[in-house]
C-alpha cells in the first residue's frame, strides 16, 4: 500500500449559519487522479480551499506524507507542494506568461534581483515538459486564449513543484481541442507521480480520466469508489440519495406552429450560419460543448449582442432585436447560464427580483404598484414551490435550486411565448431539478416554445422533443426524441469527422462541412 500523499481526517468547517463540512475523510495517492463529485453546496469548494490553505478547518487534521500540517495562508500550502487551479483563473493580464508563472517565487540573481533570463528559460522548460509548444513566454497573458491561460495556470502549479494539483471544473470554459489537450496533460502529470484532485460536474470526464472517485453530499462524506468498479447510476445515487428515474417527467403535448425561427445567423467568431426553429409546445434541446456557441446564440436572440448577419423571425415575420427590451416585447425570455451574475440581483429581495423584468407593467401611474408586485411574488413562490420564509427574503440566502426558481419566476412573470433556458438545472439539488423539469414540461404543455441549452445529456435526452447539436458555431446534427441516444449526441458534439445530417426543420440550406 503506497503511502498517501495527502490525508484528511475528521475535517469539519462551519461558516456563520452553515455547516459546510462535517467529519470529512479523504486521501490522495501519488500518481492518481481522484475525482471529487457532489452537487453545488455539497462542500467540494470548501474542501479544496481547506486543502489549499485558503480556509482553516474547525476540526480534524491534514496529513502530508503522513505528517500533520497546518496552513495559515495559501502561500504555506504552495510551499508544501499543493497547488490549486480554480474556475476563475488567477492570472495577471498585463504581465507576461513567464512572470505569471513565477509571481511570488521568481528566480533571483545577484543582489536578490529578479533574473529575467532564468525566469523566461525556466518558463519555457516547464511548458516543454508539459508538451505545450508555440506559447511565447514573453507575451502578455491578457492576449491569450482561455485554453492557453489555463496552460499557464498549470505551468504555474508545476513551477512550485506541485505534488498535489487541485483542478476545479477545469473544462468548464474550454473548447473541445483544449479539453483533449488538458486530459493529456493530466495523464502526463499523473505519470510523474502528481496526485490530482479533479472536480467536475461531467460524469463522463470522471470515467475517462479518474482512478478513484469520492462523493460528498450536503457536507458529508458519502464514499469512495474505484472508477473501474462503479457506474454512473451508482455515483448519481450516492450524490443525491435516489436514482435518476423519476427525474424527467415529460408530459404529452401538442406541438404547433414555429414561433421562433433563426435563419443563417452569423456572429463572429462563435456563431456560423445557424438556422433552426422552435415550435409552440415544443422543447428543443441544444447540446454542445462549452465554446460551441450555444449561449452566444441565445444571447443574440435575446438582444444582448447584435448579429453580424442573418434573420430572426417571430411567427414567421422577420424582426429586429437590438436589445433585451425589444426581445421581451416580442415575448422572448432568457434564463441565463450564470444565475448569480446574470440572472439575479443577489442583494435584493425575492419580490424585487421577480418583478424586475416586468416593472413597467406593475405600475399605477408613474409609481410601482406595491400590492400588484407582492401578489405576483406570492403567486410565483407558490406556483414554483420556492422555499423561503417570505417574499421579503434576500435572494442571496436561498439555495441554488430556489435561486434558480426565482430567476425562472422572473421570466415567467412576463408571460413569454419563447423561453430560452441556459443550463436550467446547473448547480441545483436533485429535488429542485425534478421540480424544474416538471415545470418546463408544464410550460410546454401550455404552449410555450422552449429552447433548452444544457450540458447534461440525460437532461437533454430526457426532456427534448428534438435535439440540436452545436459544434464550432454551427448546428451539426438534429435528432428527434425517438432516434436520439447518448452515443449519437456525444459523437456529434465532439467528433472531428463530419457526422451531420441536414436538420429536418431547416429549409433546403446547405450546411457546410466543418
Amino acid at each position: 500500500m503506497t503511502q498517501p500523499l495527502l490525508q484528511l481526517r475528521g475535517i469539519s468547517k462551519s461558516f456563520p449559519g452553515v455547516r459546510a463540512l462535517d467529519n470529512i475523510s479523504f486521501d490522495v495517492l501519488p500518481g492518481e487522479v481522484h475525482a471529487l463529485l457532489g452537487e453545488n453546496g455539497a462542500g467540494k469548494s470548501t474542501l479544496i480551499k481547506i486543502i489549499a490553505g485558503v480556509y482553516r478547518p474547525d476540526a480534524g487534521e491534514i496529513l502530508l506524507d503522513g505528517s500533520p500540517v497546518h496552513f495559515s495562508d495559501p502561500g504555506q500550502a504552495q510551499a508544501k507542494g499543493i497547488a490549486a487551479i480554480y474556475q476563475e483563473l488567477s492570472l495577471y493580464p498585463e504581465l507576461t506568461v513567464a512572470e505569471n508563472i513565477f509571481m511570488g517565487h521568481a528566480p533571483r540573481g545577484r543582489f536578490g534581483a529578479i533574473d529575467w533570463t532564468a525566469m523566461n528559460q525556466q518558463a519555457r522548460d516547464i511548458l516543454a515538459s508539459l508538451e505545450i509548444d508555440g506559447l511565447d513566454v514573453t507575451r502578455k497573458v491578457g492576449a491569450l486564449t482561455v485554453g492557453n491561460r489555463q496552460r499557464v495556470e498549470i505551468a504555474k502549479a508545476l513551477s512550485q513543484n506541485a505534488r498535489i494539483l487541485i483542478m476545479d471544473e477545469p473544462t468548464a470554459a474550454l473548447t473541445e481541442t483544449d479539453v483533449q489537450s488538458l486530459f493529456n496533460t493530466v495523464r502526463l502529470l499523473r505519470g510523474r507521480g502528481v496526485g490530482i484532485i479533479y472536480i467536475s460536474h461531467r460524469l463522463q470526464e470522471v470515467f475517462i480520466l479518474a482512478d478513484r472517485v469520492s462523493v460528498l453530499r450536503d457536507g458529508h462524506y458519502v464514499g469512495t469508489r474505484l472508477v473501474s468498479e462503479t457506474t454512473e447510476d451508482s455515483l448519481v445515487s450516492m450524490m443525491v440519495g435516489r436514482t435518476i428515474d423519476d427525474m424527467f417527467p415529460k408530459l404529452p403535448t401538442t406541438i404547433k406552429e414555429p414561433v421562433l425561427e433563426v435563419r443563417n445567423l452569423w456572429r463572429k467568431p462563435l456563431i456560423k450560419d445557424v438556422s433552426m426553429q422552435v415550435r409552440a409546445g415544443e422543447i428543443v434541446g441544444l447540446a454542445g460543448l462549452v465554446g460551441s456557441g450555444r449561449s452566444e446564440l441565445a444571447q443574440v436572440i435575446f438582444g444582448m449582442t447584435p448579429p453580424d448577419g442573418g434573420q430572426i423571425l417571430i411567427d414567421g415575420k422577420p424582426v429586429q432585436i437590438k436589445n433585451p427590451g425589444q426581445a421581451m416585447k416580442l415575448g422572448i425570455a432568457y434564463v441565463p447560464e450564470d444565475r448569480g451574475l446574470q440572472g439575479l440581483i443577489r442583494q435584493m429581495k425575492i419580490r424585487e427580483n421577480i418583478s424586475l423584468a416586468v416593472l413597467r407593467a406593475l405600475v399605477r401611474g408613474p409609481f410601482i404598484d406595491n400590492r400588484a408586485e407582492r401578489n405576483l411574488a406570492t403567486r410565483m413562490i407558490e406556483q414554483l414551490s420556492i422555499r423561503a420564509y417570505s417574499p421579503e427574503q434576500i435572494v442571496n440566502k436561498l439555495s441554488g435550486g430556489n435561486q434558480q426558481k426565482v430567476v425562472v419566476s422572473k421570466w415567467l412573470a412576463g408571460r413569454p411565448r419563447v423561453l430560452i433556458m441556459d443550463e436550467p438545472t446547473r448547480g441545483v439539488d436533485v429535488g429542485a431539478k425534478a421540480e424544474i423539469h416538471r415545470l418546463i414540461s408544464q410550460l410546454a404543455q401550455q404552449g410555450l416554445a422552449i429552447l433548452m441549452i444544457s450540458s447534461e445529456l440525460p437532461e437533454v435526452l430526457g426532456m427534448s422533443d428534438r435535439i440540436l447539436v452545436m459544434r464550432g458555431g454551427r448546428i451539426v446534427a438534429e435528432y428527434s426524441r425517438e432516434e436520439a441516444n447518448q452515443e449519437l449526441v456525444v459523437t456529434a458534439m465532439m467528433s472531428e469527422t463530419d457526422h451531420n445530417r441536414t436538420p429536418k426543420s431547416q429549409p433546403a440550406v446547405e450546411t457546410n462541412t466543418v
Binding site: G17, P324, L344, R346, Q347, L356, F367, S399
Partner: protein
C-alpha cells in the same frame, strides 16, 4: 466563495426590530438635532430666522448637485466634474451675454444647455467607450475647468439687470427663492428614486449591473440620464450661484465635488454602490451646513470649513464601511 457552500439553510430570521428602528436616517436625524442643540448654545445668532433662511440659501448649490450625485454613487459611479461644470456655466453666461452680446435670457438657457451637454459627454464616454467614471470625470474636471479658464481669460461679468438677482437673492412667500427649487427638486428626486421603476433600476444597476442588463433594464440609457442630470443640476447651481454673488468667475465651483460627495456619503450612500437614498442625503446636507454655520459663527474663516468637510467625508466613509461590515456584507 462562501455563498455556494450553504446547504439549504434553516429559515433565517426577519430583520430584528432594533435594526429596523435604528436605521441610518434615524440615527443621522438624531445627530442632526444634537448638533443643532449644541450650536444653539454656542451662539445666539444660530436660531435666528434670518440665519436659518440664509443657510438655506447657502446650501442650495451643493444640494442641487447632491441629488444626481446620490443616484450616480448608488450605481457605483462618481462625478468629479460637477464643480468644473458649474464654473463653465458661469463663464458661458458671461460669454454669451457680454462677449457675444445676446440677451441675458438666451445666455442663461445656452449656459444650462452647455452644462447638460457636459454631463451628457461624461455619460457618453462612460457608457459607450467604457471609461471608468472616476477617470472620465477626473479628466473632464480638468477639461471643463480648462475651458472655463480659457474662454473667460479671467474676465468677469458685472452689472446684471435687477430681475436676475431675484433667484439668488430674492424671496418667495418668505423663503429664499432658490430654496423652493431645492425643496421641490429634492422631493421629486426622492420619490422617483424610491417609488418608480426607474429608481428601482438604479438600485439594481448598483448592485449587479450585468444582472440588470440581462433583466432588460436599459442600463446605458439610464446611466446617460443620470450623468446628464448631474451636468444640468451643476449648471442650474451655477446659474443660482451667479445670481447670488452677482458676478461670474472661472474658478467658481472649485471644490464643489468635495461638499457634494461628503453630504451624499454622510447620508448613508455607500461609495461602493447599491445603497443609499435621498432622505439620507438631505439630512447629510443639512448637517454639513450646520457645521459650516457653526464654524462661521465662531469666527472661523471660510477656508477652515474645508478641513471640517474633508474630515467629515473620511469619517463618514469609515462609519459606512464599519456598518456594512457589521451587517456581514462583503
Amino acid at each position: 466563495m462562501v455563498a455556494s457552500e450553504k446547504s439549504v439553510p434553516s429559515v433565517p430570521s426577519a430583520p430584528r426590530l432594533r435594526d429596523r428602528i435604528l436605521n441610518r436616517e434615524v440615527v443621522l436625524f438624531i445627530i442632526l438635532i444634537l448638533v443643532a442643540l449644541v450650536l444653539s448654545t454656542q451662539s445666539d445668532q444660530f436660531l435666528k430666522l434670518d440665519n436659518i433662511l440664509n443657510q438655506g440659501r447657502l446650501l442650495t448649490e451643493v444640494a442641487l448637485v447632491a441629488l444626481p450625485m446620490t443616484l450616480i454613487i448608488i450605481t457605483g459611479g462618481i462625478d468629479l466634474s460637477v464643480g468644473s461644470i458649474l464654473g463653465l456655466t458661469a463663464v458661458m453666461i458671461w460669454y454669451v451675454w457680454q462677449k457675444l452680446g445676446w440677451p441675458l435670457e438666451i445666455a442663461i438657457v445656452l449656459a444650462l444647455l452647455t452644462a447638460a451637454i457636459c454631463g451628457f459627454v461624461n455619460g457618453l464616454f462612460i457608457v459607450r467607450v467604457g471609461v471608468p467614471p472616476l477617470i472620465m470625470t477626473l479628466a473632464t474636471l480638468a477639461l471643463y475647468r480648462g475651458m472655463a479658464l480659457g474662454i473667460s481669460q479671467a474676465r468677469q461679468a458685472r452689472g446684471f439687470p435687477d430681475w436676475f438677482y431675484q433667484l439668488g437673492q430674492g424671496e418667495v412667500l418668505g423663503l429664499p427663492s432658490q430654496l423652493w427649487i431645492v425643496i421641490v427638486a429634492t422631493i421629486l428626486t426622492g420619490i422617483i428614486l424610491a417609488r418608480t421603476p426607474f429608481g428601482r433600476s438604479i438600485y439594481a444597476i448598483g448592485n449587479n449591473e450585468l444582472g440588470a442588463r440581462f433583466s432588460g433594464i436599459p442600463v446605458d440609457l439610464y446611466k446617460l440620464i443620470i450623468y446628464t442630470f448631474s451636468g444640468f443640476m451643476s449648471g442650474l447651481a451655477g446659474y443660482i450661484f451667479v445670481s447670488r454673488v452677482s458676478t461670474t468667475r472661472s474658478d467658481m465651483g472649485t471644490g464643489l465635488e468635495l461638499d457634494v460627495i461628503a453630504a451624499v456619503v454622510l447620508g448613508g450612500t455607500s461609495i461602493n454602490g447599491g445603497v443609499g437614498n435621498i432622505a439620507g442625503t438631505a439630512i447629510g446636507l443639512i448637517l454639513i451646513q450646520l457645521l459650516k454655520n457653526g464654524l462661521a459663527l465662531s469666527g472661523f474663516l471660510g477656508d477652515a470649513t474645508i478641513v471640517v468637510v474633508g474630515s467629515v467625508l473620511i469619517l463618514a466613509v469609515l462609519v459606512n464601511n464599519f456598518v456594512q461590515w457589521r451587517r456581514g456584507e462583503s
